[in-house]
Amino acid sequence: MAETLRDIALYHSECLVEKSQKGDNHAFGKLVGLWFKRIYNVALKYFGDHDLAMEVTQRTFISVYRNLDSIKDVKSFKYWLYKVAINQCHEEERRQKRKTWFSIFQSDDAKRMEEINFQPEKEYQRKETEEIMSNILKTLPEEQKAVIIMKEYEGMKFREIAETLGISENTAKSRLYYGLKSLRKTIENSGLNLEYN
């Protein structure tokens, strides 16, 4: 069976998890190095904010470190890691919402979204397509957002997404469908005319 880089990395991860479970901190350091970028990018697409993404990534690895012993099957480490990351994203989003509720002023992100919603022409001229898409993605409900990120950017199969999130494949597909439709609706309502390279 031909091994892809992804398979090699996955196998390597499994070895590192086993070593980490035995108390090898250096192996855990390597594990973090292997997955840090991926988890950071998941969080970055979830929030569109570097600081929040870094916070969530760090919380994720702290949680992984604390709960390494709870992993019975090292082959499922990848799904477990994504599950922890997504849960941390959800928790952080709720924390941010509470902060926004207590805050008198709106956050910059909220203002940015208002600009996108109410001044599409101006916003379109000022921002790159990537930033606009990132900002729109942030507005999706957390369930849809998680599925889109795992499918679109992490390249997971529906079966893997279902396993990670503890839902059925059909639910994953449904969330993805409505997530994409919602994105399109937001873009249409904003009057944006995006051109993709």
């Binding site: 090898d24 350091g29 760090q58 702290i62 597909k173 994409l180 439709k181 994105l183 399109r184």
Partner: protein, 279 residues
């Protein structure tokens, strides 16, 4: 197949997770259903949009760098956990400081007789003083007002006396100064007057001299101009007279010539007449 099923099939097709057979069937169904095809294109376009969001490079934070054989991870996470509780620790510390300050300053809040008392001395019971009747309060107020009035009156009198003394001294001083000033002013005026008069005289003399000199020069210039003009006038007059004389002479000459001719004619006539009579 219901709408939900179509949607799921569409998503499965969109992400290429169908078997070959399922794929062919779905493509046929899509060819016969323009609405489905349009929706597929829309979702595909959304995927293109999402593909614009690229992964970002990121450095692991320093505290996540593990070291082999050390207990760095545990200690680092503990430190980070402490950082996470930092706001709560800060609030608790602030609360403790407030309590300490309150204790050290004997801060107390007392509710007594439907009144709330806040103060910094718990030993002194507020409200434990003797209660006065309204009449006593009025008497105390009147006594204090009388004392105050007497004090103000004495102060005013004292101030008035001081002011009188100061005014008298000031008046005397000013009178003396004025007298001295007047005296000094008279002397200075006489001297200044002499100087002023001598200045006026010398100035007048200078002005007069300047005027006379200027006038003399002007008169000379005027006289010369008059002489020149008179000379020109005489010359012109002489030329005019000469022209008049010459014209008169010419006229006289012409008259003589005419007279001579008339005389000649008369003589000729007489001669003719005489000749005729002789004949």
């Amino acid at each position: 197949m219901g709408t939900e099923d179509f949607n799921k099939e569409l998503i499965t097709y969109l992400y290429d997770e169908m078997s070959t057979e399922e794929r062919q069937q779905f493509e046929i169904a899509m060819e016969n259903n323009p609405e489905l095809k349009r929706e597929f294109e829309e979702l595909k376009e959304m995927r293109q949009g999402l593909a614009q969001i690229q992964d970002k490079e990121v450095m692991e934070p320093f505290f996540l760098w593990g070291k082999q054989g050390s207990d760095s991870w545990a200690s680092m996470f503990k430190r980070r956990n402490l950082l996470m509780f930092k706001p709560f620790i800060a609030v608790a510390a602030s609360f403790v400081i407030v309590l300490l300050i309150g204790y050290m300053t004997n801060f107390s809040i007392t509710y007594q007789d439907q009144s709330l008392y806040i103060g910094f001395n718990k030993d002194k019971k507020i409200g434990s003083e003797t209660n006065y009747t309204p009449e006593q309060v009025a008497q105390l107020v009147n006594e204090e007002i009388a004392k105050n009035n007497a004090y103000i009156f004495s102060k005013l009198t004292e101030t008035e006396n001081n002011m009188d003394t100061r005014f008298a001294a000031l008046e005397t001083s000013q009178n003396t100064q004025l007298t001295q000033t007047y005296a000094a002013t008279d002397v200075v005026t006489q001297k200044e007057l002499d100087i002023f008069l001598s200045n006026v005289r010398s100035n007048n003399l200078k002005v007069l001299q300047t005027y006379l000199q200027s006038s003399s020069v002007q008169q000379q210039e005027y006289f010369q101009a008059v002489l020149t003009e008179f000379s020109d006038f005489v010359e012109n007059q002489r030329e005019e007279d000469l022209r008049l004389i010459r014209r008169s002479m010419i006229t006289l000459q012409e008259n003589q010539q005419t007279q001579k001719e008339e005389t000649d004619e008369m003589l000729a006539s007489i001669l003719t007449t005489v000749n005729n009579e002789n004949n």
